[in-house]
């Protein structure tokens, strides 16, 4: 187990390095220039050169990377060229919003997907199973940005449910009830995408598990079908589900960015898109770094959960 974890940790560090290099080069390749944002378009070349020297942007790009990396390793993500606010302060304010969205959407997804997958797997090819299959396939093919628009139109505008529309975000620290109301719609949008995937993965694994001889043995004990599904079938069927969930979270962050941007929720995605527009290099690099570490850590956590769910896996 310790060796397994150590091996995963080495991989993690490698991936973070690769992503940090990629993010660094990509942002410098993008059109746009912080000097233009700060000084405006009409300023003199002298001022521009002075600002470049001040920000360290006149040095070779490889040198810039190593300077940045050295600071990062010392726990310093830098100070935004544009807002003069430390990058970490900006991230620390935005990150909890993304975490809340992900946690809410995942709780919702599992709470819906597991019972649905069970009711399908109990009777494969029943009308319910067919309906859920067709329905999940339809939902799977609707992108998040369409869902947001439709939900805002129906829930916030037609039904006029309070705190659900664009720019209705209320911070958790201010009022948790209103906060939950304002987070409900984006979380549901993200959950719909996850539910369809989780439902499909779990359904097919449950069907396979229910054919196993140990399920017949469990039945022969005279315990309820409910108990068989929850105590005997769910755990051995959730290895692929957890793997999928781990991978899905990365996609969820990206989907979350779009949803945040459309609904004006000041999470990491919203901040990232704005910072790219402003050529705020340090903020963009900082967010990409934090998000990539976050995705890897989440994957890592799910891989660990898999070893808890299936004790046979930890052995290799």
């Amino acid at each position: 187990m310790a060796r397994y974890l150590a091996r995963r940790l080495v991989t993690l560090v490698g991936i973070v390095i690769i992503i940090s290099v990629g993010a660094f080069y990509l942002i410098h390749l993008l059109p746009g220039d912080p000097a233009t944002v700060i000084l405006g378009t009409g300023d003199s070349p002298q001022n521009r050169a002075r600002l470049y020297a001040q920000l360290g942007l006149n040095r070779p790009i490889i040198e810039q990377y190593f300077v940045w990396m050295k600071n990062v390793l010392h726990g310093n993500l830098g100070i935004s060229f544009i807002s003069q606010v430390p990058v970490w302060t900006t991230i620390r304010a935005a990150l909890p919003i993304d975490l809340e969205m992900i946690v809410l959407s995942q709780i919702l997804s599992f709470a819906v997907a597991i019972p649905l997958a069970m009711s399908s797997a109990k009777r494969p090819d029943s009308w319910l199973d067919r309906f859920l299959g067709a329905f999940s396939f339809t939902m799977l093919s609707i992108p998040a940005f369409i869902l947001v628009v439709v939900l805002v139109l129906v829930v916030a505008i037609k039904l006029a449910v309070p705190h659900t529309g664009v720019s209705s975000y209320v911070p958790l620290s201010q009022d948790w009830v209103t906060n939950l109301e304002s987070m409900a719609l984006p979380s549901i949008v993200l959950a719909i995408g996850s539910v369809t995937v989780y439902y499909r993965v779990l359904r097919s694994d449950l069907i396979a598990t229910l054919q196993q001889e140990y399920i017949t043995l469990a039945r022969s004990k005279g315990i309820s079908q409910r108990r068989i599904l929850w105590r005997h079938a769910l755990r051995p069927s959730s290895v692929a589900l957890l793997g999928t969930a781990g991978v899905n979270i990365g996609g969820l962050l990206a989907g979350g960015f779009i949803v945040q941007y459309l609904l004006d929720i000041p999470g990491l995605g919203y901040t990232l898109v704005n910072s790219i527009g402003l050529s705020d290099y340090l903020v963009v690099q900082g967010i990409v770094l934090v998000v990539s570490i976050g995705v890897i850590v989440i994957n890592f956590v799910f891989d660990f959960l898999i070893t808890l769910v299936d004790p046979r896996i930890a052995r290799e």
């Binding site: 196993q212 001889e213 140990y214 017949t216 043995l217 469990a218 039945r219 022969s220 004990k221 005279g222 315990i223 309820s224 079908q225 108990r227 105590r231 005997h232 755990r235 051995p236 769910v309 299936d310 004790p311 046979r312 052995r315």
Partner: protein
């Protein structure tokens, strides 16, 4: 039905709907089982003995199977009973020891939990009482270091140990009838005798009735009082174990006996195999299903199906138009 009869099986027929058509796996099987008695059900693979044992328990898959006839277990009709009604019987009245211990234990649940589930859910014991009883059961089935093994996962146990756990699960609800479905097929030869002896011992000790399903007549010879010989889903011969061994009349029974290895044989004795193969259950011949493989078959055997008829001894029945002659001087 006498007071002593625990199980009464009458004209039980089990059919499966398959994509190729309707398959009759068990066809008109009848027999009785007294309390404390053990009966052996023998036959080749595909003879319907496993399906029969599952039908007796009512443990067939929920769909694509239909059962007719009657299975009275302690006065309760199993055929046609709802899943809820059968659940009451399962574990408490009847339990099963499954064929392959490598697949019949849940790989992600600790073995102790798999035993005390019966105790807690079915017998209503609390956690600590169930744990204590489960450890007792583990000791009873001969698992050393039972306290440690209680918390082990199945993958850390050997095949023989796993089968002992399966037996402990079956015994947990103190059933009156134990169905052992080829309980040693998946095990090493050296372990087989241990498991069979264990079953024999607990059956006697707990006063259970047992149905021992096997393809190996050597297994049932000393452990059962009566035998039911099955071929292509039908009973072809039945009687006391002694009569079936010594005074069998059906050529198939003899073929089974001859294909079972005996310790008394000199080494390198060629084992007699039954020629041909078991019939396709989707397309059974009109006559005796064994006729195509039988050395004694006549025209009548292929056109008409023999029914069970009484032999000389009480309770000994066989289905054959050309029964084997009784060997002169055979032990009676």
């Amino acid at each position: 039905m006498s007071d002593e009869t625990l199980l009464r099986v009458r004209e039980v027929t089990t059919t499966f709907d398959t994509p190729q058509g309707r398959l009759t796996a068990v066809d008109g099987v009848s027999f009785d089982l007294a309390a404390h008695e053990s009966v052996g059900v023998v036959g080749e693979s595909g003879s319907g003995k496993t399906v029969l044992s599952r039908t007796i328990m009512g443990l067939q898959p929920r769909r694509g199977v239909s059962v007719t006839g009657s299975v009275l277990l302690n006065g309760t009709e199993v055929v046609g009973a709802t899943e809820e009604a059968k659940r009451e019987l399962w574990g408490r009245q009847v339990a099963m020891v499954f064929q392959d211990p490598m697949t019949s234990l849940n790989p992600v649940v600790k073995v102790g939990r798999q035993i005390d589930e019966v105790l807690r859910v079915r017998l209503g014991m609390d956690r600590s009482a169930a744990r204590a009883r489960a450890i007792e059961l583990l000791e009873m089935v001969g698992i050393p270091a039972a306290v440690t093994r209680y918390g082990a996962y199945p993958h850390s146990l050997s095949g023989g140990m796993r089968q002992r756990v399966v037996i402990a699960i079956a015994l947990a609800g103190s059933p009156q009838l134990l169905l052992a479905d080829e309980p040693t097929t998946g095990l090493d030869v050296t372990i087989q005798a241990q498991i069979l002896n264990l079953l024999d011992e607990v059956q006697g000790r707990l006063g259970m009735s047992m149905i021992l399903v096997t393809h190996d007549l050597g297994v049932v010879a000393t452990r059962t009082t009566r035998l039911v010989v099955m071929y292509a889903g039908r009973v072809v011969e039945t009687g006391t174990t002694r009569d079936v061994f010594a005074r069998h009349r059906m050529p198939y029974t003899r073929a089974l006996l001859e294909s079972s290895p005996k310790v008394s044989n000199p080494s390198h004795t060629r084992l007699a195999a039954i020629p041909g193969r078991p019939p396709n259950l989707l397309d059974l011949p009109t006559g005796c299903a064994f006729a195509p493989r039988c050395a004694y078959a006549t025209d009548r055997c292929t056109s008409e199906r023999p029914v069970l008829e009484p032999a000389d001894e009480p309770g000994h029945l066989f289905a054959c138009f050309n029964p084997l002659p009784l060997r002169v001087g055979s032990p009676s």
